[in-house]
Symmetry: C2
């Protein structure tokens, strides 16, 4: 954590100084905003948290509920989401209070006594160690709390406007030639809800309009924003229903603290998810497919019926439920919309999208693969940094088209995966091709539910894989996977990726070549690249950083030397890796790294992996490599150390020059 | 983290439900309190935090300052203190914002150009890996903030009463035979200070009295509490002075982010301590011994003089100070009082101590070994749990005599160590026996400054070492050193010791014997001990747990099986290790552990140590062992698995039976 560089910070360094629109932010929702987010679920809250790092942008988030979510809904947190929480500074805290999945148990009818279930398999949840972060279970409400805290403590100081309901919106269109679009082209109609804790006194039912430059619809499966732009969820007509209950109970079922898929001989099935705190657990009890029009009947299922059914499936074990924290009949189908914004396919490139939909508003699917909250968060993060960049004048509006293009594919993959997984889980044992088909699928596809299958195709912001062989462990289009290094200035073990936060910056990691790696070897290639980065007018760092801003304000440029930290002489490191910033022009010493030392230093941050060689772990070529990483931590490009022309070209097609016109705020 | 067992907790689980005196705690300091703590430095705040876990006890903490400490004072946090923070739930958070010491550099005059300094050594700070926690540097103010948060969120809901100054106290004495001591024998006089943020309006200068059962003097080096009980700091008459500055600066000194001891050819010396946030650092610039009466002259040293002196010592490097966050002339001698309570040596056993002094009030020493805040916290923790136990009727008053007996020895050791270390650091190179004497001492004594040399002698609460051979890695009288295990119920990797919090409970760890360790071996010895613990009237768990309280409310009893977790059948584990608690009688599944599995599961909590065998790491005999641990996490006793008589005897001499009379609250 870096702070004090603008002067001493006496209190919690997680509370960043208010800046821009965060200074004296009005309590009351203004009439004109840059971004209006509708809905404070996972998609909306992460978007607010990310935009809170862009204090040049006025962002408001409205929510129909009178206050925070208290209970219920999703609880599965993929390792990819925990990586994301790291970027928002709360991975450690939420891990400490969450349930951590280590194994998954499969229970089936006993072959000899099919009325009884027996454990048939116990695979590890993450046998390959796909992330240094764990797979967690914790209530959605707590995830939202942490994002809310982040948004409130970030420079733009965003807090949700509760008790405001979205009714509809209209996007202004340019009808005549030469006519200009209004500055705030989206007009949104809202209504104060009855139970709103309105600081301005009772205004229940009263309507108002707000004009916005952009709207993010994060208003869930029944999205009004989606409807207002004429998009539809399409897909299988049948829903699948589950009785969901979060309960405190006494049981003799031995795996009650393990994630279990349980199938009984009657075809009943339970997905058991232990929950945070050591006592609570969730059960999804299968209620089967809901025929069209059959919703009401299924929804009438009582908690007593759910508990009775669970007991039946668990035979010979019993479940004595003592307290029901939450229960619901969760009914959902596999549905998806074809595009996640308001621009028709045929108008892409000629019209700028103004309204985006995210999360459940664009895709719904079963809860069985534990995906809903996770994918929704990645949607929200994806659109939020892009809006920040466009609105602060860093990037061209074309960036906004990449949101739907990237995320719609991911949603389609998710739905395909989930359909296969749900079908397998609902199948009777005798219907499976192979008795271990379910377990095999779980193990084979482990990377998917962990959230790491996302692989963006080449686009404006994802380069080609031409130079992939220079860094095979950083696949272009996939998330940047951290690895251990040693920081030179203080000799501490670090996870390279954990230094990256959700600060909206692009990152350029420079991995030294082997010539510069020996203890006495020179570092000519790194030095030349370092000089180019600060001196060439073509360098993205020069071209796209405003002249009056800190050198590291738009690009976070790091170097990893291929030698032990004691053999790196800071005096010879190019200044781009030791940038000076803030009112005192202090040197930032946290961008220069070296090989992980063999000596262990107690960490508390998963750092007790002495001796790991990041160059070997991530397949860095002896020639070295430049790895460009997006603000949402996906690898955008891999280039050779002398690939300055390609590096310049990559950013030139996307970013707006800052050196002639000074930044907007 | 365990919660939800009294029903669903929707918000932050770190906020424990208010209980006892924490429900409707009065804002105004009452006239009668059980414990009055004077001073909210590290000693006082940890005492308040610990006592906040005893909601049967009315504890108040008064502080002369108008509010929280903002800046300055100590910053060195030993690994032992970070272990302590773990018990109070904030090790992870404070580590994330702190500077972490990995190495210490030694700089000396260059042999050929003595006007220039050169680096002569760079030893690791903790080469032996004495703890899984790191050695940190962070401002004392933040440590106090975290303890304050803990105290405010714990059941007794303690917050400091700011703006109240201690003036004096009197302890009532029994003069006539048969006369009873008043219930609140200590009368304390206080004054409202001028700048107090008093909720009751301006009362500056007005005095009041409070009566207390016990007083903890945590009021620092000039302690009025110490004076009021007639104790004196004695020791060398001369103070040593240092110019201390916390600054933001630009420098070409390459080790500016490393802890350094720097000696120049003129005899000047600097102790450089990098600080949290990546930019700030502290320098202690030696100002030499202060002759008696010379204080005023030394204190007149200006910040400009300190900076000039630092530049002189750092030659050929320069230091361009941009901002001074804090500076002070810190002047201190090696002083100690002979006893830490109000009972004269000759009255121990006949009078109960009523007033205790802690921290700087009883011992002062240089800042060079970074001990002040650390030792003070252990003082405060030591007395606080003891007062909690006595006041809640768990233990006899004799427990209180152990405070001074234990801590005075520790302070004496500290002062001896610090004197040696300061002398070495202040010595001119040519005066050293051996040119590497300083570095050698640093490496040789590493366990001391890390806080792990504390080794309590046998007493009422520290048993004999007769059975030490059964668990050589848990020395009786030293802190319980955690090691990795695998939790049986959920298969997750855990650090055994991290489950222990500052909840005031004694802990009984049962390490299985090798007979019960094979994959099919029986567990006769563990089963017999388990049965005795819940069934025998001699069992401390039976005798000293109130009949209407949860089985695990006074003793936290855990088992570690000597086999993989997949080979432990929970159905056969004795109920004392799976106790039922709370209104729903839910089973606690977090006390049953097994050998650490070979398979790594991502942790984020220093848990990536697959395959570590706790039995081998901690030298557990094939016959198994019982390890008894105090509420402040020191090993109290090691016993054989059939040592039930000794176990019963150990607690019988200390604790008060609870089964006839129900607990006090
Ligand atoms: C009742 C319920 C139960 C669920 N149970 C499970 C489960 O058991 N397991 C699982 O994995 N997933 C479950 N889900 C799905 C999971 O919660 C979602 O996948 C996830 O929350 C998607 O995030 P989101 O931000 O897209 O939408 P949501 O979390 O649905 O958030 C949408 C937000 O928008 C607000 N909103 C909606 N309309 C308006 C409006 N017109 N004006 C203003 N605000 C509006 C809503 O109040 C809500 O806060 C459940 C969802 C719901 C609603
Ligand atoms: C100015 C200063 C600078 C220091 N600098 C360093 C340093 O550079 N490095 C280092 O390692 N250590 C330093 N120390 C020492 C270190 O801070 C102590 O070792 C540590 O704080 C001891 O903790 P404590 O709780 O015993 O006492 P303290 O932290 O001193 O706390 C005592 C508290 O009691 C309060 N108090 C005092 N008298 C009264 C009264 N009559 N009524 C009510 N409240 C009262 C004080 O306001 C204070 O909050 C410094 C101490 C001071 C005071």
């Amino acid at each position: 954590m870096q702070f004090h560089h603008h002067g001493y910070v006496s209190g919690d360094p997680r509370v960043l100084p208010a800046e821009g629109v965060g200074v004296d932010r009005p309590t009351e929702l203004p009439d004109e905003v840059d971004v209006l987010i509708v809905g404070s679920g996972p998609a909306g809250m992460i978007a607010a948290a990310q935009l809170a790092r862009f204090p040049g942008v006025t962002t408001r988030i409205i929510e129909r509920r009178p206050g925070r979510l208290a209970i219920g809904q999703a609880d599965g947190i993929q390792a990819r989401s925990v990586e994301t929480f790291q970027a928002f500074g709360f991975a450690g805290r939420i891990t400490a209070e969450a349930y951590q999945i280590s194994e998954m148990c499969f229970w089936k009818p006993d072959v000899e006594h099919p009325e009884n279930i027996v454990r048939t398999a116990r695979p590890l949840d993450d046998p390959a160690g796909v992330s240094e972060f764990p797979h967690l279970i914790v209530n959605q409400a707590r995830v939202l709390d942490y994002f809310a805290e982040y948004a409130a403590n970030a420079p733009a100081r965003i807090t949700p406007d509760y008790g405001l309901e979205f009714l509809g919106l209209e996007v202004a269109e340019v009808t005549g030639a030469g006519e200009a679009l209004p500055e705030f082209p989206v007009t949104v109609t809202l209504r104060h809800t009855t139970d709103s804790p309105d600081p301005a006194g009772p205004r229940e039912g009263s309507e108002r309009t707000v004009r916005a430059k952009y709207v993010i619809g994060a208003d869930g499966a029944r999205s009004g924003v989606r409807e207002s732009i004429g998009r539809k969820l399409t897909g299988a007509s049948a829903n699948h229903a589950w009785g969901v209950m979060d309960v405190l109970a006494v049981t003799d079922f031995p795996d009650i603290r393990l994630k279990c898929a349980i199938q009984s001989h009657t075809g009943g099935s339970i997905l058991l998810i232990p929950r945070e705190g050591g006592h609570l657990f969730r059960m999804y009890v299968d209620l089967g497919e809901v025929p069209e029009g059959g919703s009401a009947a299924v929804r009438a299922t009582t908690i007593e019926q759910i508990i009775a059914k669970a007991n039946e499936i668990l035979t010979p074990y019993t479940l004595d439920v003592k307290d029901v924290a939450w229960h619901s009949v969760y009914e959902v189908g596999h549905r998806l919309t074809d595009k996640f914004d308001d621009v028709a396919h045929e108008h892409v490139g000629t019209r700028t999208p103004r309204v985006f939909i995210t999360g459940d508003a664009c895709h719904t699917h079963s809860a069985k693969a534990g995906q809903g909250m996770n994918v929704s968060m990645q949607d929200g993060w994806n659109i939020a940094w892009k809006l920040g960049h466009v609105l602060e004048g860093r990037a061209s509006e074309a960036l906004l088209d990449t949101y739907s293009a990237e995320r719609q594919v991911i949603a389609q993959n998710l739905i395909d995966f989930d359909r296969e997984w749900s079908t397998l889980m609902a199948a009777k044992p005798e219907d499976l091709k192979d008795p271990t088909e379910l377990e095999d699928f779980y193990v084979k596809t482990a990377e998917f539910p962990a959230g790491f299958m996302t692989h963006y195709a080449p686009s404006l912001i994802t380069g080609s894989a031409d130079h992939q062989s220079l860094a095979t462990g950083f696949p272009v289009g996939k998330r940047f996977r951290s690895a251990p290094v040693q920081r030179v200035a203080d000799g501490t073990p670090q996870h390279l990726g954990h230094h990256a936060t959700a600060d909206g910056r692009w990152r350029i990691y420079v991995f030294a070549d082997a010539a510069g790696g020996g203890s006495t070897g020179d570092t000519a290639a790194v030095d030349a690249l370092g000089a180019w980065l600060t001196e060439s007018p073509d360098s993205p760092v020069v071209a796209f950083t405003p002249a009056d801003a800190d050198l590291d304000s738009r690009f976070d440029v790091k170097v990893i030397y291929r030698r032990p930290h004691t053999e790196v002489d800071l005096a010879t490191v190019p200044p781009v890796f030791l940038p000076r910033s803030g009112p005192f022009g202090l040197i930032d010493y946290e961008k220069v790294h070296a090989l992980r030392s063999d000596a262990g230093v107690a960490g508390g941050d998963g750092l007790s992996e002495p001796g790991v060689d990041i160059f070997a772990e991530r397949g860095i070529d002896p020639a070295g490599a430049i790895v460009v990483v997006r603000p949402d931590h996906y690898v955008a490009q891999v280039l050779p150390l002398d690939g300055t022309a390609e590096l310049a070209a990559f950013f030139a097609r996307l970013m707006l020059p800052q050196r002639e016109a000074v930044a907007a705020y």
